[in-house]
Subunit: 170 residues, 2 copies
């Protein structure tokens, strides 16, 4: 349940399920540091972490956190979609910018998919922006086996469509 990753300069990373109260601030800072999210989105990320810290396993939002000895390196937030039999949503994935490009996001996403599958999930959905500055994000999902099933024009804002990706889990 707690596979270790070793990354040069960061020590050993440990995957942990759930959010501890001390993680909330680190999650807010990590999401802000990526530079990909608006201040409002940063607050949403922190709010989900607070809900998860409060409600634990009983809540709608599950977290998988990659912790280095003295820092939070990356995390995912995901959960079962209410009203569906076996569809899950990946609400958030964020990797510390200083650690990007080393495969950590990919490994964390795979570990998240494994947990979703064990929980009975058959489809994992991810929403992201179709904007040009999100091309790297979309390429990340496509490289991990996700396909864009639909786009919703002007969803986030005029000219900013939502792209809905999905991966069928084994």
């Amino acid at each position: 349940m707690r596979p270790a990753l070793a990354l040069p300069g960061w020590g050993e990373l440990v995957l942990r399920e759930g959010v501890e109260p001390g993680d909330v601030r680190a999650i807010r800072e990590l999401v802000a540091a990526t530079g990909l999210f608006s201040p409002a989105e940063v607050e949403i990320a922190a709010e989900l972490a607070q809900i998860a810290a409060r409600e634990g396993e009983a809540g709608d939002y599950r977290f998988l956190v990659a912790r280095a000895p003295h820092a939070l390196a990356a995390y995912t937030c995901y959960g079962h979609i209410d009203g569906t039999r076996s569809s899950f949503d990946l609400y958030w994935i964020a990797v510390d910018p200083k650690l990007q490009g080393r495969g950590l996001g990919r490994r964390l996403l795979a570990a998240t998919e494994a947990r979703v599958a064990r929980a009975g999930g058959r489809r994992l959905y991810v929403d992201t922006s179709a904007r040009p500055d999100y091309a790297g994000t979309r390429a990340f999902y496509e490289g991990a086996g996700y396909r864009c099933e639909a786009t919703l024009a002007d969803y986030y804002a005029p000219g900013d469509a939502k792209a809905i990706y999905v991966k069928e889990l084994a």
Copy 2:
């Protein structure tokens, strides 16, 4: 703010924004009575009503309720979609089966759209099932000016796709 509708046998219907504690049980019974929703979905509808009764205007879920003197006739639940500039979701619309076919749903939906537009909403999204037994629901939205922008295969369950409808508000 409180236009009245008169329906034979029901007395005068009044539209009211928000949920009062006594409405929660009536909302659960109304949603169950439509026969369109699973027990889990009925519980979700009641849970959203409880949240709205507790959080009021500050919450993410707004309600517009059509009340007859002694019964809850219909309601919508809607809200701004976090992370978007001006997109709203219609989470729920339900009309007492004994009142369906008299234009109440259409009038309630139009009144909801007017409130969304006044709150700055430019697009109202509705998710529904692409299953054959939801054809009446889809026809209702199409008749009200919604178009199906995307479908997600097997979203609710194998063979049960999600249809995403949207209406651009003036």
